[in-house]
């Protein structure tokens, strides 16, 4: 058995995938391992007739997952958008695992991603020795996906330079990859498709051209729906991370987590939790992941400089830092929020004072 720190989805959930394949009698699109219905069940969870429990991989709106799967079935590429920490990569990986049985055909988008990683590169020793040939060609994950009729994933599409992004256009519309050096081309086999993820907060990095945008169906993954759900996610992650970092502080009181999550949710939504007061929203993302960061920072403050118990003051500095990203605009937003909402809330006096001081 492997000792990898993190196993691929198709290995981790191999039993579930097999059970689904057995139970799946619905028609499958060419080269799909499962039918769209079974893929949806794999992602959203459920129980099969033979008693196998499928764990939910994505907790959220069913509708979104259905749209994503239907998109892949129509041979249009799928673009998952969302703020950081909304499970885009997670969903993409599981979709690839369920549909192609392989989530490893991955191109990580960075500012330095070159055209080779989307098309093909050369084995230069071979190239110099024998000249251009198929043997000297080093296929990219994208090219392999085309040849084998599988799903390829592109992470952080908007971080890839615009000229490299453009090489995707032919690929997606013509479904072929020309190799001019050999006078040949690779034609995509049925079952090939692309799932890309991108962060819709930093769209500006390398905004998709409208030509490329048109080749994708876009699904926006939202932040967690309910307060309780988000508190649970934060609590779980903070505890896990706290253990991993070996912080001596006590696990944070649920009350502190709730407060931070409430602040995050209210500012993000631009309305108070009771839905009565409208608020301005800061420019910061305020994702669940950041709430986790704030809690961790508070914990480490409490552990190393406090008495080991997390208090409002420990959280406040991290919180202010997370909210105020733009020193002018966000400060106004934050102060308004403090003065009009936090100040008057019952039992938040210590929190209000701590935030005033941290500011």
């Amino acid at each position: 058995m492997t000792h990898a720190l993190r196993r691929h989805a198709e290995h981790q959930f191999v039993e579930e995938l097999q059970a689904l394949a057995r139970a799946d009698s619905k028609p499958r699109p060419p080269n799909w391992k499962l039918s769209p219905w079974a893929v949806a069940t794999y992602l959203l969870g459920g129980s099969l007739d033979d008693g196998t429990e499928i764990t939910p991989k994505y907790i959220g709106e069913r509708r979104l997952i259905e749209v994503a799967i239907a998109t892949l079935a129509t041979d249009r590429a799928l673009l998952l958008l969302g703020v950081p920490g909304t499970a885009k990569t997670w969903v993409a990986e599981h979709l690839a695992a369920a549909i192609s049985g392989d989530s490893t055909l991955l191109v990580q988008g960075t500012a330095g991603t070159s055209e080779e990683s989307l098309r093909y590169g050369w084995n230069y020793a071979e190239l110099l020795a024998k000249g251009p040939s198929l043997k000297a060609l080093v296929p990219s994950p994208m090219m392999r996906a085309m040849q084998e009729g599988r799903l390829a994933r592109v992470e952080e599409l908007t971080r890839i330079p615009a000229d490299v992004q453009d090489s995707l256009i032919t690929l997606l519309s013509e479904k072929t990859l020309p190799i001019p050096e050999l006078g040949a081309e690779v034609q995509a086999q049925r079952g090939f498709n692309v799932i890309a993820t991108a962060n819709n907060r930093d769209r500006g990095v390398n905004e998709l051209s409208s030509a490329l945008k048109r080749r994708f169906n876009t699904v926006i993954l939202p932040v967690p729906d309910s307060l309780e759900e988000e508190v649970r996610i934060v609590q779980q992650r903070v505890e896990q991370l706290g253990r991993a970092l070996g912080l001596p502080a006590e696990p944070p009181a649920l009350e502190e987590i709730r407060r931070v999550v409430i602040v995050f949710r209210e500012l993000r939504a631009g309305v108070t939790a009771d839905g009565k007061t409208k608020l301005k929203s800061p420019s910061a993302t305020l994702s669940t992941a950041e709430a986790i960061g704030v809690m961790n920072q508070g914990l480490s403050l409490a552990a190393h400089f406090g008495d080991g118990t997390l208090r409002a003051a420990d959280v406040a500095s991290g919180l202010v830092g997370a909210v105020i990203k733009d020193p002018v605009q966000d400060r106004v937003v934050w102060k308004e929020y403090l003065e009009t909402v936090v100040k008057e809330r019952d039992g938040w006096k210590d929190f209000y004072r701590a935030c005033r001081q941290a500011d």
């Binding site: 769209p36 219905w37 949806a40 509708r63 259905e66 749209v67 799967i69 239907a70 998109t71 079935a73 129509t74 249009r76 673009l79 958008l81 409208s210 945008k213 048109r214 169906n217 876009t218 699904v219 926006i220 631009g270 007061t277 409208k278 608020l279 301005k280 002018v328 106004v332 102060k335 308004e336 003065e339 009009t340």
Partner: protein
Amino acid sequence: MDPSPLSIFGIRHHGPGSARSLRHALETLEPDCLLIEGPPDAADVLPLAVHANLRPPVALLIYDPEKPQRSAFYPFAVFSPEWQALQYGLGRKIPVRFMDLPQAVQVGLAAEAETLAEARRVDDPPDPPSPSGPPDPQEDPVADRPDFEPPLSRDPLSHLARAAGYSDSERWWEHTVEHRRDGADVFAAVLEAMTALREAAVSSGLKSVEPERERHREAHMRQVIREVRKEGFGRIAVVCGAWHAPALAKMPPAREDAALLRGLPRRKVVATWIPWTYGRLALASGYGAGIESPGWYDFLWALDARQAHGAGTASDGDRVATHWLTRVARLLRGEDLDASSAGVIEAVRLAEALAALRGRPLPGLPELNEATQTVLCFGDPLSLRVIGEKLIVSERLGEVPEETPAVPLARELAREQKSLRLSPDAVARQLDLDLRKPNDLGRSRLLHRLNLLGVPWGRAVRQRGSQKGTFHELWNLQWHPEFAVGLIEAGLWGNTLPGAAGAKVRQDSESTPDLPTLTALLDATLLADLPDAAGHLMTRLQTVAAVASDVVHLMGALPRLADILRYGNVRNTDARVVGELVHGLVTRICIGLPGACGSLNDEAAEALFAKCLEAHAAIGLLQHPDHTSAWNGVLRQLADSPGLHGLIAGRACRLLHEVRELDTSAAARRLGLALSTANAPAQAAAWVDGFLRNSGLVLLHDEALWAVLDDWIVGLTPEHFTSALPLLRRTFSTFQAAERRQMGGRVAGGMKRGPMWVGLPDGFDVERADRALPLLAQLLGLKG
């Protein structure tokens, strides 16, 4: 088919599929008499339904002429089965009758309940513990929904839907009935299903909780059917809500029904047609039997009508998805969003794939919406809202012909005109109202309300510098005939002038995003004396103020609200709500103002200068210590911030000095600092302008300030002086001539220290003046 002369068609109100099947069924059956679930009181205006100028959506309005609030609306869209039945029947000239329990009786029952409730309140007065009070039948005198379903089944179909594996009964009905295109025997199936449901309801004991009103209604429908059969019609078609169908199919002995209906109270009611909108037909507007997507239904209906005329050959699914998404794309293009034909093609494909994934034969509205969002809107749900408003609900407004009987609103207006002695006249004339007189106050209120309703009979004339005070209002009155149409349209909003005006204000406030417009609307609402709507506006203002980023707008809204709060001149405005609103405004202004004052050009500084003065006055008026201290803090911040436009900084300093936050020496120090040579002359002069504008007296009476200004001018180089002179002159020219003269005298007279004296004119009788002093002291409260 049915051996009896009776065919019962159980439909869903406003279901296009039901309407289509019904139309087919009627054409096959060719009945000689048509009974429709609807108010028999409307028999007189029924023929108008086929009038060329009557265009759905329209509603039958039935109301009690003595108390128009007691009313019921029966809306009809072109795709309503009842409407199609009406059109069929009236078109073929066969007898068409409404058979529901008459509104006369329902209004009568409501009136009776009201009297009872009143009596109960008299019997038992010392019992108002809960704020909501006892359950009050007056709340809902006549549910304005013709098809109020019994409680078993607020949603009877949900049981069937659940059995079929749908979570939502609407959707189930849609798929099993509305989307059927063959229409064969759908009604027999519906009848059977409903019979089973009702039987299940009886056996589970739910039937007993069915309200009496429902039993009355069904009894009355059966009585009408009996009557018609007695008249000898051979093929009777009965169109009713699906839920009622079984109750009409199986006739209990006539005696029972007669007994049930005996002795029900009746009141006189009047019926008329009024224009309706799809928006009000939609569920979102709170109309109980509403439908989510009238625009979508209208589209489906129109598509079918076109097919009936032989256009188009493609299969159904393609047609619906393609036509709908093309319309969506055109709308998006109209809104300046990209929507290419290629995108439409992809969206159609995605909608079909989704439908297949969900096991539906055809893409429905949810699939089409998701496809639109994913393909055409690039995942953005905001653009979808436009589609929701414009296409799915649609903004269509119906029309009614001129011969339609007058709406209650027009009647009420006539009554008001009579009692206020204010007759409509096509010749323009001016009217001067003295608001202290009750009659004039009533007139003003009426005119303001009409204005809000879009019937501008009177136009208020702004009087500048009027000597008459705030209790006078000047109006230009002129009556135009088209106002009658306006009144009919306004009938949509309600049956009484205050009710309709209030509802209209609410609607307007929802669609008005900016603060100044809202404040103006609030002003008009307060003048029209609509406390409820005003309360709603306040809440709305609060919401908008919270997200408003323009401090100038916030400051513009403040003075009027401060007036309301301070003087309460407004009738019955809830001071607490205004207080909260003002508090929020002041807090936001105080936080946002320093930021808003950065990098201003002269023009912007002038505008902000005026707003600051207004806000200062308003906050002074409020006399609230929190507000004052927060505002003074902001002024201090402004006075201290180095990069600020001189005009604002100078005035901030001056205002602080005025409220004694800065003593004279501190103010003088600031003036000196601002006028020191380190500052550009233009900046310094702007500062002086802000500091001194309209206030020569401060200068005349404050020695320290005078000295600082004097020193500054003396110390200027000739070039500096020349560049500063225009600005200085602009400031000084705003002073009263007398003030300037005194200043000039002072400068010419050299540096005379000590307080200024106003010289006594020649022949001043000191003795006589002294005699007035005790009385003055008493007036000023200086002596007991």
